[in-house]
Subunit: 311 residues, 2 copies
């Protein structure tokens, strides 16, 4: 028997189905029952040390797309496979970003920050706008699809450049190297960050990078808080270089309840919810089932992480 | 010379173009220069009595789609034509409604009403939802187009029933009579009101009508405040019969700055801005030009109001 620890607890009928489908696997949902576990569904950072004590551990299926909170180096050294839930959250993150864009363009940020004021807020013409999207994977493509429906121009930024699969979603693709080497400032209305948290992206959006873009844009972060130097962003907001910011992720989470970020008129802050799903288990458990089938058959797992790249 | 009073002041270059194109028309922007005015662009309620003193008045071009603030009876008696800006604002109202829908579905209402709280809000699966849209004109169709992109089901309610032109936007159409006669409750997630302000729609959304829909929906009003009995809506919100409300229009405008509506956790209130445009004059003045050409040629005017129906 192979032992699988399910830190995302399946619904009763899902558990029943798993047990019936995989008779050679012993399923447990008790985090203390980790001693000889081979497979883990989900992860809990405070339990990491304990979970890694199982010498049998060979595969972890993450519930998130980003995996920066895993001990990737130890996984690599011990040959533990890590797979992500990339793709699962794309629709929801795109909806959240679409909400941010329309909140800003329809003047609703100004209104909700000043309840009771009966004045016309500034509004912006969506169909004349350009968005610069850092990250052109599943989430970036889905955000671009929404932006295209809104008749915005979409520019993607990635490490590898143009790829025919991106053609329908992005009007243009530039590489990170091109972005960094550019000598003129980019003219865009929104900068949307969905970069993963890696050593490369750590502190990427600092004053210098944020000023590579012409003043007057709004900054949206639904990637990782670690990729933004928040104090630099706050300074540029105070100078009105950056017009506004929509931040779902932060360097420290949870964000302090008395942080000035919550009350800033220029910032809409949300508690890391952009990818939240109403029916998470209905979609996630089947994804695990598929991958478990592949795992037992010795096939290549879906959404396998390159542990050196970190995504 | 025919005299035209422009209460929406054209930009300098627009005024120059108007004068060059229409040499037989004398343009003024001075509201006190009303004595022998034949044409008025825009309207000002406090000046209504004065504006109607011109015995010459034959045509008013409204800047809005709704015309409930005009003295329609007097217009009818005196044979004054009234044309609307219907269609101009549709895109913007649809964007605002789309913002409301995504704010609610992504849990952002809960978040912005409770800044500093780091908790997962309730979220909803947009693609499983149904919207009931009262009004299937330009604005209703545009809202339905956005809802379809979001993969929501759209049901339109109008006075005249199905029309092939509505087929791409609405999955279903019911008439007001069918709605009122229905004996089972409608199961929808959103009720969106864009009905014009008329004697028929006055106080339409009262407790009885709001309870024709199964509990648990959100109510959006971007039509007219007069069509909703606000105290009835507030009572149903307090009972959680109606889950939340997005209100852009009110029985009394401006809404009192100390109204409980602004601070309610269940309500996002906005100051009648759903149709606000960043470049209003660039689109509105050409619309007036077109209609002025038709007027001078004795042709049928675009967006002519049926003064008895009130829209």
């Amino acid at each position: 028997m192979k032992k699988a620890l399910l830190l995302v607890e399946p619904k009763d009928e899902q558990m029943k189905a798993l047990k019936a489908k995989f008779p050679t696997v012993e399923f447990t949902t008790d985090p203390d029952d980790y001693s000889d576990v081979e497979i883990i569904l989900g992860w809990k950072v405070p339990l990491a040390k304990q979970l890694l004590e199982s010498k049998n551990l060979k595969w972890v299926q993450s519930r998130s797309a980003g995996v920066d909170y895993f001990p990737l180096k130890e996984f690599a050294e011990r040959g533990i496979k890590l797979t992500t839930a990339s793709g699962l959250h794309s629709r929801y993150i795109a909806e959240t970003v679409a909400a941010y864009l329309l909140i800003e363009n329809r003047g609703l940020r100004t209104v909700v920050k000043n309840p009771g004021v009966w004045d016309d807020p500034e509004v912006f013409e969506t169909s004349e706008q350009t968005v610069l999207i850092f990250g052109t994977g599943n989430i970036g493509k889905e955000i671009a699809r929404y932006c295209h429906f809104f008749e915005m121009k979409t520019i993607g930024v990635n490490r590898h450049g143009f790829d025919p699969k991106l053609a329908t979603d992005f009007d243009e693709i530039i590489t990170m190297d091109e972005f960094e080497a550019a000598t003129t400032k980019y003219q865009v209305d929104y900068v949307i960050n969905i970069l993963p948290g890696t050593s490369y992206t750590n502190g990427f959006f600092n004053t210098k990078v944020l000023q590579k873009i012409e003043a007057g844009y709004s900054f949206i972060n639904v990637g990782r808080g670690s990729s933004v130097v928040t104090s630099d962003l706050e300074k540029l907001l105070a100078e009105n270089y950056v017009r506004s910011a929509y931040l779902d992720v932060f360097e420290q989470e949870p964000l302090d309840s008395d942080s000035a970020i919550w009350s800033s008129e220029q910032i809409i802050a949300t508690p890391h919810i952009s990818g939240l799903m109403a029916h998470f288990k209905d979609i996630f458990i089947p994804l695990f089932e598929d991958n478990l089938e592949k795992y037992l058959a010795g096939e290549k797992l879906h959404n396998l992480v390159d542990l050196d790249q970190g995504y």
